[in-house]
């Protein structure tokens, strides 16, 4: 496929790795922000190609991972209602709440549907006027324009039986939270390419300057990621801390202004709780007051559902780049994708699940993964 295959060319990848090796003189710790980037890095073993002194740590940019357990429980409480058709992206279905996951709830007779786009929910709502159609709206800024448009369309076209359970988060405050932590090890960031395709990258200028960290907006293919790492290492070696854009084929400085306007029309910024991390001020979106008739949390009165996390999970430290999945004694033993204990194991894009799925728990157990 055009604009994909050429960015998986191993000759180019190797050349970039050689260049990183040539310019690097000191150890550096770089965080890739987005879970999709983590998945690519582990899938292609890019961290194994890098010279020893360049360490990648994995960031908080996995929306399924950071959705709080109590929000999952709220979703399940709504999905169990007989008057509801509950719609979600596929990757939320196997995330366990306190009592099972959405697959089990569906098996028990509830109406749970996987959708490709939030607009599919509007079709379902129009076709089922006697049901309440609820969409589980999780995601970062990349997904916000799609979810905002679904709500906007529902209001303007009078689709009154459509609502969203919103658990939207935004990236920049999470980077600030990581950098302010006394345990922080991160010296440079690979910025989230598709978040910036929507929002642009001007929000990151102040972070780069204030905390003196290079931030390189980076794509998702192996060549993109290695080039982003090379650009970050170059800045670190030269003592620069700027926002640069590796992913210019998809991202412009200002981002997608049409999409930003729609986000501003439908959502307000609010404090949000991040699974494994806690509350980060101004780190998410809620529906604006005029869209309250499409707010599932209000309609179904589930805001009082509160849940505690298992205590042994270290996912908060993994999400901040302080620890790696292999540092956890439960990794690959008590905690697996089938029996996840916390945030970073629940989604394929979480660092722990990516390590597990590509055989790295075997390394932790002293077994050669072979062929991975």
């Amino acid at each position: 496929m055009k604009y994909l295959d050429e960015y998986r060319d191993d000759r180019i990848a190797r050349k970039i790795v050689d260049e990183i090796r040539r310019i690097q003189t000191r150890p550096w710790v770089i965080m890739e922000v987005c879970g999709g980037q983590t998945h690519s890095i582990v899938k292609y073993g890019l961290d194994y190609l890098l010279p020893e002194g360049v360490e990648l740590v994995h960031g908080p940019g996995c929306p399924v991972c950071v959705t709080p357990l109590e929000m999952i429980d709220r979703a399940h409480a709504i999905a169990r209602r007989p008057d509801v058709i509950f719609c979600s992206f596929g990757d939320m279905l196997r995330v366990p709440g306190s009592h099972g996951d959405l697959f089990q709830i569906k098996a028990d007779g509830a109406s749970v549907r996987i959708v490709y786009s939030p607009l599919d929910c509007l079709k379902i709502a129009r076709a089922n006027p006697d049901k309440k159609v609820v969409f589980f709206a999780v995601g970062f800024e990349t997904t916000a324009p799609a979810n905002a448009m679904a709500v906007w369309q529902a209001k303007s076209q009078g689709v009154g039986n459509f609502s969203i359970l919103i658990s939207h988060v935004v990236v920049p405050p999470s980077l600030t939270s990581i950098l302010q932590s006394p345990a922080n090890r991160v010296q440079g960031f690979l910025g989230p390419g598709h978040v910036c395709a929507v929002m642009g990258w001007h929000e990151y200028d102040a972070i780069a300057e204030r905390y003196r960290v290079p931030i390189v907006v980076t794509g998702f293919e192996p060549v993109d990621l290695l080039e982003g790492i090379m650009m970050t290492v170059r800045q670190l070696e030269q003592g620069r801390f700027e926002v640069e854009n590796q992913y210019a084929r998809a991202v412009s400085r200002g981002g997608n202004e049409e999409a930003q306007r729609m986000i501003a029309k439908v959502f307000d910024v609010c404090d949000r709780s991040w699974r494994g991390i806690g509350i980060i001020p101004k780190s998410g979106y809620k529906l604006r007051y005029e869209f309250r008739e499409h707010d599932a949390e209000r309609i179904f009165e589930v805001a009082d559902i509160r849940t505690r996390e298992p205590a042994i999970c270290i996912s908060g430290q993994v999400l901040k780049g302080v620890k790696k999945p292999n540092d956890c004694p439960a990794f690959g033993t008590q905690c697996t994708p089938q029996t996840p204990l916390g945030a970073t194991m629940v989604s394929a894009e979480g660092a722990c699940a990516a390590y597990y799925n590509y055989g790295r728990h075997l390394v932790a157990l002293g077994v050669s993964p072979g062929g991975v």
Partner: protein, 89 residues
């Protein structure tokens, strides 16, 4: 979850007052909403995420990445010629 896939617009149409397109992803065709890329035209590539085009692929920039990589290649060759001992395996 934030993945967006590049695809080529093959057809543009209206649905429920929204500008929509059929987009080809290496032989698989899916619908995408063009509300956020109003200038997009058939034949162009767009990045599609959950049924929405979130940006148009900037073909000049895509080409520039390659040009830059080629230049890096040539630079490495020049350096290898002038300082053969500095090569690191």
């Amino acid at each position: 979850m934030c993945l967006a896939i590049p695809g080529r617009i093959t057809e543009i149409f209206e649905n429920q007052g929204m500008r929509m397109a059929k987009v080809d992803f290496g032989g698989i065709s899916r619908e995408a909403c063009l509300a956020y890329v109003p200038e997009a035209a058939p034949g162009q590539y767009v990045m599609v995420h959950v049924g929405f085009a979130i940006s148009a692929v900037n073909e000049e920039e895509a080409a520039r990445t390659y040009k830059y990589l080629e230049e890096m290649d040539q630079l490495a060759e020049i350096q290898a010629e002038t300082e053969p001992s500095s090569e690191i395996s």
